[in-house]
């Protein structure tokens, strides 16, 4: 797949019209931990797996999902330092929008601005594309629940459900099977946990933590962490579901 001499700078097109540096940046995201975003009947859920690569690590730190505003959240997939750079920009954009228009920025406005920022880094040879895909979930009274994903190329789309990272193939096939629009967020937690667990099946010896946040009708339509006991229950039930699936095969 190596692009011979056309892949050394982001300011160079290959003969087929591809920009290899952007594709390599996307590779960095594809090799990292899985992140999922799902829109349900009554809200949006963001979920991420965190591998505990050392026993010496503290629990429940090294977050991947952050608040941009009370009702807007961002999940980072790929290289975390790059993701946090994008996050800072998103926070600044959201704050400036609110200053100017006196209402919180909705996800389609915010994702547009973030996408433009990410895209700008794919146009100049003095910088490099971000090695991070970001998911933006929000609620506001005009547009309801929204979910967007922004890729290292600067492409952004609105989704019913989206995923990136190592386990994206597994998650995408689960999305096909299940209609999340018919499930409430509470019901969907189990399936989110199931997807995150299946995403790392091969490396069973490692310890994982799961970070999940939601914006739902039931929690005041704010972006908050899913309570830890709900996550733990969902993970337990998901493990049982997976066992049953395996026995069935």
């Amino acid at each position: 797949m190596s692009g011979s001499m056309y892949d050394l700078s982001v300011a160079t097109y290959s003969q087929e019209g591809r920009i290899y540096q952007v594709e390599y940046a996307t590779k960095a995201v594809e090799n990292s931990e899985t992140v999922i975003g799902v829109k349900c009947k009554d809200g949006v859920i963001l979920g991420a797996e965190k591998q505990k690569f050392s026993r010496l690590l503290e629990d429940n730190t090294n977050k991947r999902i952050y608040n941009i505003d009370l009702q807007t959240g961002m999940a980072l997939c790929g290289k975390l330092p790059d993701g946090r750079n994008i996050l800072q920009r998103a926070k600044a954009e959201s704050s400036q929008y609110q200053d100017m228009y006196a209402i919180p920025a909705s996800a389609h406005v915010l994702s547009d601005r973030v996408a433009q920022y990410v895209h700008a880094y794919t146009m100049y040879s003095g910088v490099r594309p971000f090695g991070s895909a970001t998911f933006i979930a929000s609620y506001n009274t005009f547009d309801g629940y929204e979910l967007y994903m922004i890729e290292p190329s600067g492409n952004k789309y609105a989704y019913h459900a989206c995923t990136h990272g190592k386990g994206r193939a597994v998650c995408k096939s689960e999305f096909e099977r299940r209609n999340f629009k018919d499930l409430t967020c509470q019901e969907a937690l189990v399936y989110i946990a199931k997807m995150l667990i299946l995403a790392h099946e091969e490396f069973k010896e490692k310890k994982y933590e799961y970070e999940m946040t939601w914006i739902t009708d039931n929690n005041g339509r704010k972006h908050q962490n899913v309570p830890q006991d709900l996550i733990n229950n969902a993970v337990q039930q998901a493990e049982q579901l997976i066992e049953q699936d395996q026995i069935g095969e």
Partner: protein, 248 residues
Amino acid sequence: MLKHLYDTDCVTWSPQGKLFQVEYAMEAVKQGSICLGLKSNENVVLCSLKRQPSELAGYQEKQFKIDDHMAIAIAGLTADARVLCKYMRTECLEYKYTYESHHPVGRLVYKVAEKSQHKTQSGAKRPYGVGLLVAGIDPNGVHLFETCPSGNYYEYKCQAIGSRSQAARTYFESWFHLFEKSTLEQLILHGLSAIKKAIMEDEELNEKNVEVGILGKNQKFTHLNAQELRDYIAKLDAFNPNSQIQQE
């Protein structure tokens, strides 16, 4: 793979999605002499092995106070560390001036990580070639963070970085379950035992080449002086973590 094509600057991704310059910067940290940190419910201890450029020279300091409640231990390019140290000290002072309280540890580490990340995304810059262990105590609790040249940061129960640090980490993996309830003295002895695992066969720990810094909920950051170091090193041979288990 033609690595040399993709590894000359920070703005080139390799076909596998790696940034080689950033990975090379992490190597600089591994070349520095070992420093480690460990924490209990009440205290954080930083231990480091100091190097001497020549017989006639002094030893390079590895631990720096950032504020009463925070300190760092460095591994890697000392000059880069000085830049970060100055930045952290200034931020703490400004925070104290504005809010009349100590800078929360996690937030300062986040700022350092952000600063480090910007240096990895420009063709005209290079990453910081230093890893920090940040020890701090704030109302959220007792903290030990590691920062990397890549802009990543992690919170640890205990961690060792620098040359031959794997030996110290292996020691930690066996004993870290005892650290939470350890006394300050036990914590220091654990730290020194871990460093002892990482020194070369012909080297010896003495009060000149070891640096120990301690932080406590009611204790501002201080270094152990030469006499205290000698006393602790003398206790090392008799120190047995197994006896700590029997106490609990």
